[in-house]
Assembly symmetry: C2
Homo-oligomer: 698 residues x 2
């Protein structure tokens, strides 16, 4: 029984475009979350744009700050139906973009004309086909385009094929082609544009209560002010302090994480809250809220940022325990549930209940903690263990804070499962701690940073730390000075953002509390220390040099262009970075991962990827060691030893050869033809040569 109906056959209301736009990137969860972007870096938009059959198509990228005026630019075809466009956002906040594609009768006709002329066919008919097409373009054109189309019409009418074929008309066609119907991407694509520092930053962490004075005087926030000059001179631009709030006394922990009834010592800064106040108060031992404000202001005047540590947890002495008992879970006996990971107990900490009946009050209260410190010049927050707080809370609070204060930067201290880390990045965290600390072999590093620079590039910005107050890796415990050197070079050059737990790293502190633990002996988490930072063996000169190079060599400020090189010795890691803005020379880094032995090997370079000619003499300048080399060809010998600098940071240049600019829309007519794209290995060679050429099936 036929059920078809002429009355309601569900035909689309308007004539649909034959063009398909799909697989747009960046597009996070079909547009539910914005992708990451920053000032000073192009947003690279890609999409599959294609049409049935052999017609030529064109594609455009529209973009604007949300609520602003659309700008549109032509996209360029890449291999295999992929198209690319780029824009450089110049204001903070949310931007949006949209890819569209359309068939181009003009481009198809011009291709046919050229092919027939080349084949020696009579093209009189073909010229006649073009006239109405050009006339229609002329009807839509404005300004000088009208004159150019008039010229084109004259050539057509006089059969001036030479002028016709020598003119580059792609921009003219792109602007004036009739786009009805055009296809648009599914899903609303947004990017959140943050400060350059959200992408490119160098963090220095220290405990202000510890002393750098050999006389062992205790330090505080005013003393921290005096340390800014030195940190600035080392090239760090984010000064990060562990929590500065009053510390609880109930179940306070002693040196080396000891517990007991009569603990002496200053306690852990992460046991937040005491009689003197909570998350918006300052430990009187350290100073006052005004001291924090002054320190933040001093950082700002130096072009640096002060980062506070936000740990949303409370000591039993925190004022919220009395003021908002409903924000905590209670046991049947009425007591508040302390933190547990059964069978372990953490009685000095009360976790907050993000699903409590008063969740709204709690969420607002936590929001106000950020707001309080933002009002006092703090622009960067390192958030402690965000993966143990509700993801839904972060999805609410970060966009809300950024809407009011788009210059704020959030670093997620989440060392946890991949999905949870990515969800925090989706929720809005600007940066994330990474597994870098435990990626140590060349295979591990290449695999992990390939993932970071490709799969999760639009989502998660890594911040690479060779050490933290919680993590002294076995490698640093036993690798000696060479391990500290290579890990610093790796962190500072693989990742646009890096950081160190400063005094311990400068002095290559490597004593663990016990074998098999990654905790420091006499950790500053539980006691004060005295650091003699002027020791001659200090790593400060190397750290300074790395930060200088990170500013001088623009490719180091980006992750997108990272590529690893083949090396025939797994103890050597080699990788290149180019400048996505196209201004600076490409960089090649080679690191010896072996802290004990000299290692040598052959490094293969993909010169084309670096925008350099294939057969030339390359000047390689080592900005770390200072030496210069001349290389020829893609295959070169490298030798590094732990008793030397153990790494090269080269720039590669060819005399008289400027760096190649990144892809800019080419207006060559044929380039808009997806069939002309080079097939990848996924495309059947025979299919393209035997079938696609044979036209309709007859």
């Amino acid at each position: 029984m036929p059920k078809t109906s002429r009355v309601n056959d569900d035909l689309p209301r308007a004539r649909p475009s034959r063009v398909v736009v799909e697989l747009v990137r960046p597009l996070i969860d079909n547009g539910r979350f914005p992708a990451k972007a920053s000032l000073g870096e192009p947003v690279v938009v890609e999409a599959d744009v294609f049409v049935d059959g052999h017609d030529h198509i064109d594609a455009g990228l529209k973009y604007r700050p949300v609520g602003g005026t659309w700008i549109e630019m032509p996209m360029s075809p890449l291999p295999n139906d992929r198209w690319e466009g780029r824009f450089i956002p110049d204001t903070l906040g949310l931007w949006e973009f949209e890819v569209s594609g359309w068939t181009s009768g003009m481009a198809s006709w011009m291709h046919a004309l050229a092919a027939k002329a080349d084949d020696g066919q009579d093209i009189v008919d073909e010229l006649a086909v073009g006239i109405p097409l050009v006339e229609r373009l002329r009807g839509r054109a404005k300004g000088s385009d009208q004159d150019r189309l008039d010229d084109l019409l004259a050539w057509l009418r006089t059969g001036d094929l030479v002028s016709l074929r020598s003119a580059d008309l792609s921009d003219l066609i792109w602007r004036n082609e009739e786009r009805q119907p055009a296809a648009k991407q599914d899903g609303k694509a947004t990017v959140r544009v943050e400060r350059e520092r959200a992408r490119f930053s160098s963090w220095y962490e220290f405990f202000p209560r510890s002393s750098v004075d050999p006389d062992h005087t205790a330090s505080n926030l005013r003393g921290a002010l005096d340390r800014l000059d030195r940190i600035e001179a080392m090239g760090f631009d984010v000064v990060y302090l562990p929590p500065v709030h009053p510390i609880g006394v109930t179940h306070r922990k002693g040196p080396n994480n000891t517990t007991g009834d009569h603990i002496e010592g200053p306690g852990s800064p992460w046991a937040i809250g005491g009689a003197e106040g909570g998350h918006t108060s300052v430990d009187p031992q350290l100073g006052t809220v005004a001291d924090v404000e002054a320190l933040a202001e001093a950082c700002r005047q130096r072009g640096m940022d002060l980062a506070l540590d936000i740990a949303f947890q409370c000591s039993p002495d925190h004022p919220w325990v009395r003021e908002h008992p409903q924000w905590f879970k209670h046991r049947p006996d009425g007591s508040i549930q302390y933190a547990e990971n059964p069978p372990k107990k953490y009685q000095d900490i009360y976790p907050l209940d993000f699903e409590s009946e008063d969740w709204a009050g709690l969420w607002r209260g936590l929001h106000d903690v950020f707001e309080f410190w933002i009002q006092r010049n703090v622009s960067v927050f390192r958030v402690d263990n965000p993966h143990t707080k509700s993801f839904a809370f972060w999805e609410w609070v970060i966009p809300k804070l950024l809407a009011d204060h788009p210059e704020t930067i959030f670093l997620a201290e989440a060392f946890t499962r991949p999905q949870a880390m990515q969800r925090l990045a989706k929720a809005g965290f600007s940066q994330s701690y990474t597994y870098f600390t435990w990626r140590q072999t060349s295979v591990e590093l290449e695999e992990y940073f390939t993932e970071l620079s490709d799969e999760t590039l639009d989502l998660l910005r890594p911040n690479a730390w060779p050490n933290t107050p919680d993590i002294l890796t076995e490698q640093l415990q036993h690798g000696g000075r060479a391990a500290f050197v290579s890990r610093a070079v790796l962190a500072a050059t693989l990742s646009p953002s890096w950081g160190i737990y400063g005094p311990a790293y400068e002095l290559a502190e490597h004593h663990a509390v016990r074998e098999g633990s990654e905790e420091y002996l006499d950790s500053e988490k539980y006691q004060t220390r005295v650091w003699d930072l002027d020791k001659p063996e200090s790593l400060a000169p190397l750290l300074t040099r790395l930060n200088v190079l990170r500013h001088e060599l623009a490719p180091l400020q980006h992750l997108r262009t990272l590529k690893f090189c083949d090396v025939d010795n797994p103890q050597l890691l080699a990788y290149t970075k180019t400048d996505p803005m196209g201004d600076a020379a490409p960089v090649l880094i080679v690191v010896n991962l072996d802290p004990e032995h000299q290692q040598s090997g052959t490094v293969w370079l993909e010169w084309a990827d670096l925008g350099l000619p294939k057969h030339a003499l390359y000047d390689l300048e080592d900005h770390l060691g200072g030496a210069s080399f001349q290389w020829h060809g893609g295959r070169n010998f490298v030798e590094l030893s732990p008793w030397g600098l153990n790494a090269h940071i080269f720039t590669a240049t060819v005399k008289g050869c400027p760096p190649v600019r990144p892809l800019i829309r080419s207006y060559a007519a044929a380039s808009a033809n997806p069939e002309s794209a080079t097939p990848t290995s996924a495309t059947p060679k025979s299919a393209l040569t035997n079938k696609a050429e044979k036209g309709p099936h007859v």
Copy 2:
């Protein structure tokens, strides 16, 4: 200046769940298109479901035919925050499903209780914590769950830890846990359930105008009826005929694709339309519409399907050229634009203009062609070059036809770029021709079929053809009989659907029209042939055996479970398949890809993946050659020669050991804990051991 506001702070309206549900699979383009499903195969739904912190969670999968009644089942945790559920749809048409997740206070508490008891801690307090939790469950429970929860309460009150810990309560908790708030997936997930034959089919193509009678009598549709017994006996279930319509005379092509003014011969069936009619008429030389209907009915009575070839293009003599000139593009001189791929011309073919002003009329007209033949018992359509017709048209016409006739099957004859092939699959094509024909080395085959059985599994069902009337690969031209054997074994066992251009394959026809071409010499596309199918060297017995095994060995009817084995000889390809329904023994196939030399090597088997015990004696029965072997361990020797059968199709069994059922929800309490999942290499080992264990940051 603070801009926060208490009045409108954009808080979610209701308390949001702390659980995240994301990366649901299958979900095509965020739900814009349904995923593929079929009767007799489980729909395997996966999602990332996780929560902040250490709480235990649970997850459920709801499913129904669209408009039907929801059924919900518990999902099972896989490693790394992934959860899985399965359902087996039992009616044709669109189904929908939804994944949700929630925190389980009961499961968290039970885990804590067990951990503390194991640690020797006093659990009196912990038992008290459980009582109100169980009472709340009891308040929601129905039927026998009430009794079980009463027992549980009694154990709690009496401190009967032994009973408590020995009971499997997961199902009880899953059913009765308070799910407020629960998190649900983004995006509406649908699957289109088709006949089993959409997934598992064996196609036999022949030209009914050619003869299988040594007396060279021409054949026709009535003669085709007489061939059904033989095709059925060979085990094929889709009988596919090239276009049966009247053939144009204008610019008709002659034998071996010759062109000219005075062509003799029957012409190409793809030059559709003549004085006798178009797409709903039958070439009088072949018979009548009633003959097609009778043939289709005869197929149906045998449990087979008749497949017609739908090529939406017209010869200049097609009735539509007069009746609907607006469906074609016109040149300035008023003539209709013939097909071109400049500079090539195909003057015997007029393409249809899918963006014409009368696009709606054209689309309806093409829809009615399908409808016409569906009314005449035709249930399968092999669509010619669908990638040269508007994707938007397919997205409209196929779902519309399937809504009226859900038993219809569409095969896309698209040998083109990956994106276009995938878009056709999204639009609704049940099956797609593949690049199998040109994937010939072990690396190529493994890479391609790994992609098909994983990345594009939910989207595109492959149909593997070793030959077609258009494609006689160089391998078959020069590989001799052994190449025909191995390509048939590969197609029939790698892909659940396969097909052959029958007479030419049975007789190992291998003469190309010229060196370097994949066209047959004296191709049936342009002339009739005589095939003596009773020749003793016919491959019919092998083809028959392959089809018998495809029915007897259930794993061959699926693609999802395909896994390739390591082999130390690249000329040998080895792969396994298991039965997703869990009923049949696993299958191991080994094929010698070298048509000229004997090849031997070692095959490694992953016994655990096959659901078999690791250290046992395995009975391997070769269903192709008939021999039996006993293997022990994962590493075994294989030798195959082109003068033998050149392939093994083994089933692997262990005496007294039934095949392992696929994953069923386990109710062990700890299994709901994402932290208990095995971390993959992407998870930092140190992070999980050092950090996750240490609880809050203090």
